[in-house]
Symmetry: C2
Subunit: 489 residues, 2 copies
């Protein structure tokens, strides 16, 4: 009767007995009287100790599968009616339970890429950094020190982030960005994406309108649009978002990258900044200012953020270390107006309590010791060299057949191929991948309705921060071969 198989040739244990009996009970094996063998009898039958059986019986009893009374044989629990088996259960006619409207909107978004690819000769994917640039030693030291220095009890920390890190960020923002704020205005988050998601949730309702640059960072647009709010895409030119186009626009929020427009690279001049702030004040809208890579300017010093110009009531500033340390650390921060401190803190608490403490502590150490600033200077220099290598290689390979945008700052450029029509793009990307070169279209960053009309030529967003000079040059060389083949075809 007892077909109990031990796992992997081991002896039969309590768990095997437990599981076999549970399955049998569920299948209704003990239908009539519902009596199981006594623990003694079963132990003898299976050649195991009585304790082994008793442990299984106690577990089954605790879960209600059986009822055990002293001196009597165990009986199937009255509640343990035979379980409907998986395959027998008819699916409800409506199929799986429905998702929320948020969930349904997410289904319409492009699927996120899965595991990262590490097998290409040169992947110009934007956002990646070279591991060799990471300040391994200072970070390791800071993490190890943080592990050693923790307080005697491990407890949920402040939802806004550790006091230590908020103080360090406050000083850094003043030192590096001329941005003055109180530590209470700072909310540490898991990368800038969480900052944008919190803004979306707290400030947008279904049916509201929000302004985004066109083109813009696509997953920012997705985060705002996922609330059910409607995107108003406003064109950018060489001075960033064209604020003249805003005048008649009513919206709850504008998401902008004034210090370095993503992806086209322009810096928004003071006049437009003022008009943007005035528009926000007049229409009672928030501005979400994403200062994602302000550390990387090769021509001039970093531009102070929009946040500094306004009265601090309408601007939410978003910063990150994903472009200076690593995108895998997941640390970013918000500076919110004082009247939003409480609700952002409550939201962060509700969505995931707080950002991991060890990383916060390590980042605070780097910021306060000066190691972060000197690291930034080092990687700025290195990325300046990479940029020069890429620009030279592109010029050599393509000459006047390309136009390059956004080369003054950041970690990427946009390259327009004057003579390759957009229709060829997928073929170009596929052929390049076959040669081991990862290239990425700028088209998905345009508003969906405008993607076809605006970018009639092939445009690539080429990130260089993860590549050494050799790979950059080799990658461009291989890309040139692919392009030449396409042209001659």
């Amino acid at each position: 009767m007892f077909q109990i198989k031990a796992r992997r040739g081991e002896r039969v244990g309590s768990r095997d007995i437990y599981q076999a009996l549970r399955d049998q009970i569920s299948e209704g094996v003990y239908g009539a009287d519902g009596l199981l063998p006594s623990s003694r009898a079963l132990a003898t039958e299976l050649g195991v100790s009585r304790t082994t059986v008793t442990v299984a019986y106690e577990q089954l009893a605790a879960e209600g599968f059986i009822e055990v009374r002293h001196g009597m044989r165990p009986r199937v629990g009255t509640a343990a009616v035979s379980l409907p088996k998986n395959s027998i259960v008819p699916k409800s006619s409506s199929g799986a339970p429905r998702l929320s409207s948020y969930g349904e909107r997410l289904r319409t978004l492009p699927a996120p890429t899965g595991e990262p690819q590490h097998n290409l000769i040169a992947d110009f994917r934007y956002g990646d950094l070279a591991a060799a640039d990471f300040p391994t030693l200072p970070w390791k030291r800071a993490i190890v020190a943080a592990i050693a220095q923790r307080p005697p009890r491990l407890t949920y920390d402040d939802a806004r982030g550790t006091r230590e890190l908020r103080v360090a960020l406050q000083r850094y923002l003043w030192r590096a960005r001329m941005l003055r704020c109180e530590t209470e205005q700072i909310i540490v988050v898991n990368g800038s994406q969480q900052a944008l998601d919190l803004c979306a949730r707290l400030l947008l309702d279904r049916g509201d309108r929000f302004v985004v640059e066109n083109p813009c960072y696509a997953i920012a647009r997705h985060a705002f649009a996922a609330t059910g709010a409607k995107a108003i895409s406003v064109a950018v030119d060489k001075d960033g978002l064209n604020t003249a186009l805003l005048s008649k626009t009513k919206a709850r929020l504008a998401y902008v990258t004034p210090s370095h427009q993503f992806p086209l690279g322009s810096v928004m001049p003071i006049g437009r900044r003022q008009r943007l702030l005035e528009w926000a004040r007049k229409t009672n809208a928030y501005i979400v200012e994403d200062d994602y890579d302000s550390e990387y300017r090769y021509d001039i010093k970093p531009v102070p953020p929009l946040h500094v110009l306004g009265d601090g009531q309408n601007v939410i500033y978003v910063g990150t270390v994903s472009k200076t340390l690593s995108p895998t650390l997941r640390i970013g921060y918000l500076v919110v107006p004082p009247h939003l401190e409480t609700v952002f803190c409550a939201a962060k608490h509700l969505v995931d309590r707080h950002t991991p403490v060890l990383e916060q502590s390590a980042l605070a150490t780097l910021l306060e010791s000066g190691a972060y600033d000197s690291h930034v200077r080092k990687v700025r220099r290195r990325n300046g060299e990479r940029r020069a290598t890429l620009l030279n290689a592109l010029r050599r390979a393509f000459g006047e057949t390309i136009a390059i945008e956004g080369a003054d700052a950041g970690l990427h450029v946009v390259v327009w191929f004057r003579d390759i029509p957009l229709a060829m793009e997928q073929k170009l990307i596929g052929r390049a991948a076959e040669k081991g070169v990862g290239i990425h279209s700028v088209a998905p960053l345009y508003a969906p309705a405008l993607q076809e009309r605006k970018s009639i030529r092939v445009g690539l967003i080429m990130g260089y921060a993860s590549l050494d000079a050799r790979r950059i040059e080799r990658g461009v060389e291989l890309l040139a071969q692919v392009v030449a083949n396409l042209r001659s075809a």
Copy 2:
């Protein structure tokens, strides 16, 4: 004319000049002709190098504050009209821009506690762990190894979590919880709170209904209620959620803790589990099964989760390492039905891209090396000792005047003071705090409408996992003094 102050006694630098000029331009100092001094003249006036001035001018030009043409004096930019100053801007009549309805609902929630308190003699706060229990050495080694072993490029990882960790969790869930799943069903998140928040967003709309146990984990209820859905609180008894009360309830989702009801500690027997699953199938609802502390059972082996009993289509399993490693790490995981894999992955990607990679890597190492399992055995033993110390101390101090619930499992007990009316609770908590003892009421865990009716006596949720024997005993002793004083008053 030029009142430029260097910072902290340093020499005047480009930044000081930049800032002074920017302020002056903003204040309309250069009103008439808009001409600034030549860089040479200003350098002489300030006693700095001409380059120092040029750098400031270039920065101002880049931002549009001034226009510079070769050989001419710089002129205030046409766009740089005088900026409205902070204090002058009249606040819009409607005050600050309004929040989303989600944001407004968050305003009604109790404010999260800020920075953790470390100054009490004994804080019985639930959820805290002793730092001495943390596996410092294995964790440090695993983190350091992860820093050293990273791939050559730092890139956003899989939104579901690293493959490595999902494989390790898949094995762990089978080994420890008899739960079989595919790695694609696992989503690594920032602690179980993020798991609950993702479920809330993806499965609930405003006006929907969700079932929670009464009492229950309060911030879980908050996370679901923040969507605008309505909580249906169902009473629990010694067998957990009373499923008989469910029969006529329609809801989209039920949030349950069947393995160890929070906070009252009951284990849901098989019959109720089946009824719960049947209810979910019939009403087309999801069950969110929070298995928050299954590792801690002192009487019997861990109970296999509800997830194992069902057909896997309606149950979302939530696990965490906050109770075994540390609440400050922020790692948890979901096991979702196959038809929800894609949308949970998309949501995780949109809310914060992915959970930090180093911690994921360290946890995977601990799980695969066996260090996690042996750590769990160690802390289970230690917490069993703490529990015994607490129960003994409570019996000694309070005898039959208290009733204790939920002592078979977990990291806390609920203590009911038979002879202290609820009206005295705040006084009791306040007096205890004065003596250095942190105690916490169970009342907020009840549904708001029922809080007064149900808990007519004082009930405390007493966590012990962060305290050593001495503090537990001293804490109870001091609490007994406070109670004695209250009774005699």
